[in-house]
């Protein structure tokens, strides 16, 4: 049970870390125009939050891409 909990936690964090790097590099300015010219320290500062909340941000990034595709 403990191993399963830790594995799920580690898997979630690992996916979050991979997504997080992509998100702070490209995605953040897609979902929020105010982040367009944001410096890299800002992007690193939001990275832990991105790793924690990656499903929500993935959904928002996906929506932003779809909206841009329609436009």
């Amino acid at each position: 049970m403990a191993v399963a909990i830790l594995l799920i936690f580690a898997l979630y964090a690992a996916i979050g870390a991979l997504f997080g790097v992509l998100f702070v590099w490209r995605g953040v300015s897609r979902i929020d125009a105010a982040a367009n010219a944001a410096p890299w320290p800002f992007r690193l500062l939001i990275l832990p939050g991105v790793i924690a909340l990656w499903p929500m941000l993935a959904l928002r990034w996906h929506r932003a891409i779809r909206t841009r595709g329609r436009a």
């Binding site: 830790l6 929020d32 105010a34 410096p39 800002f42 500062l45 939050g49």
Partner: protein, 359 residues
């Protein structure tokens, strides 16, 4: 305010605040260590790791108590508002201190076995049915996860992208973290140490936090009740309902005031340059009470973090883009009347001019 993100919005006030926080933590840890070394001299000496663990743990708990006291204290006494201004940095500092405590504790108690420290943490004690042997460390880990989530989402980027209500709900989890930490300390440290002064300190913290919240809540409740009672409809004209909310003399020049009409949200009134304007009382940033703020550089300025809005249209001055709801307002004699229907955020409303002989 969201014209473009910067890493940390430092200014002179915040630098001083942060220097005090870092200095205060360093002094606390130093004094705790020095006193601990003296109290626990040979033959009752304890290891540096245990002393560091206790120093960091008590420091984090104390900081969390301070954080929770700042909100109600600022409601009760405006002199506490500067403490509220940069509370987010205090929260991040609390998380870092708690993290250091957890790293040392997990390493010291679970790091020397054959299994992973995290598996050991979850499996070494499973007496969930026993109060006297409850695995209190799990409670600390859960509290730490909440503090992490709050620290990680403390930047304005998260406030904007989660939305103010969701962000606020997320950060209200601090009370859950506090409850978990009280149990963590009560079931763990107090059980093993049985120290009366420590029990008294934890109890004093809980009583202080609870009392301040209760007093501030009661005061706000009474204030709302009084204002609701005073307001009365003064007639309808052309689809507008005007409600008398008090005298122009109730509002000082360049200052705000709040009124509540019926069960509606609080409305903030401002008096500047001989005119009265009305907006929502809720700041778009973190829901700060705008009516308790003042007019600075011609703008309504939130007392919590200094976000600004123009009184005439509820819009932040360029290049910022935040907007708040405005209300139609008029002055009849010395009385201020409001149409309680909020207008869409950023709607321009002609401020009501106070007649020259009444100013």
């Amino acid at each position: 305010m969201s014209a473009g993100y910067v890493t940390v919005q430092w200014n002179r006030h915040k630098r001083i605040y942060d220097a005090c926080v870092v200095g205060g933590i360093a002094v606390y840890l130093g004094v705790f260590f020095a006193v601990g070394k003296t109290l626990y001299a040979a033959p009752n000496a304890i290891s540096d790791e245990i002393l560091a663990m206790r120093a960091l743990g008590t420091c984090a708990f104390l900081l969390l108590n301070i954080i929770l006291c700042i909100g109600p204290a600022a409601r009760l006494d405006r002199r506490c508002l500067p403490l509220l201004y940069n509370r987010r940095h205090l929260g991040v500092a609390t998380f870092l201190v708690a993290l250091a405590h957890a790293v040392i504790a997990i390493g010291f108690y679970h790091g020397f076995g054959n299994v992973s420290p995290f598996i050991s943490l979850l499996t070494s004690n499973t007496n969930y049915g026993s109060l006297s042997a409850f695995p209190f460390q799990i409670l600390g880990v859960l509290a730490l996860l909440i503090l992490f989530l709050m620290a990680a989402t403390s930047h304005d980027f998260w406030l904007k992208n989660l939305g103010a209500p969701a962000w606020k709900r997320l950060h209200m989890l601090v009370y859950v973290a506090y409850g978990l930490l009280v149990m963590h300390v009560a079931l763990g440290f107090l059980q093993t140490q049985r120290s009366p002064w420590l029990a008294a300190l934890v109890g004093a913290g809980v009583v202080t936090v609870s009392s301040l919240h209760l007093i501030a809540g009661l005061r706000e409740y009474r204030k709302d009740g009084r204002r609701t009672h005073c307001s009365q409809s003064s007639g309808t004209h052309a689809g507008e309902t005007w409600v008398d909310v008090g005298s122009v003399d109730d509002i000082a020049e360049q200052r705000g005031s709040t009124v509540t009409i019926g069960e509606s949200e609080r409305i903030a009134l401002f008096r500047t340059n001989g005119c009265i304007s009305a907006t929502t009382n809720v700041c778009a940033h973190q829901g700060g009470p705008l009516g308790e703020g003042k007019i600075i550089d011609g703008c309504i300025t939130c007392p919590w973090h200094g976000w600004q809005y123009r009184p005439a249209d509820g819009q932040s001055p360029p290049p910022f883009t935040e907007r708040i709801a405005t209300y139609r307002v008029r002055v009849v004699g010395r009385r201020v009347e409001i149409d309680p229907a909020p207008l869409p955020p950023g709607t321009a409303v002609e401020p009501a001019r106070i007649a020259e002989d009444l100013k």
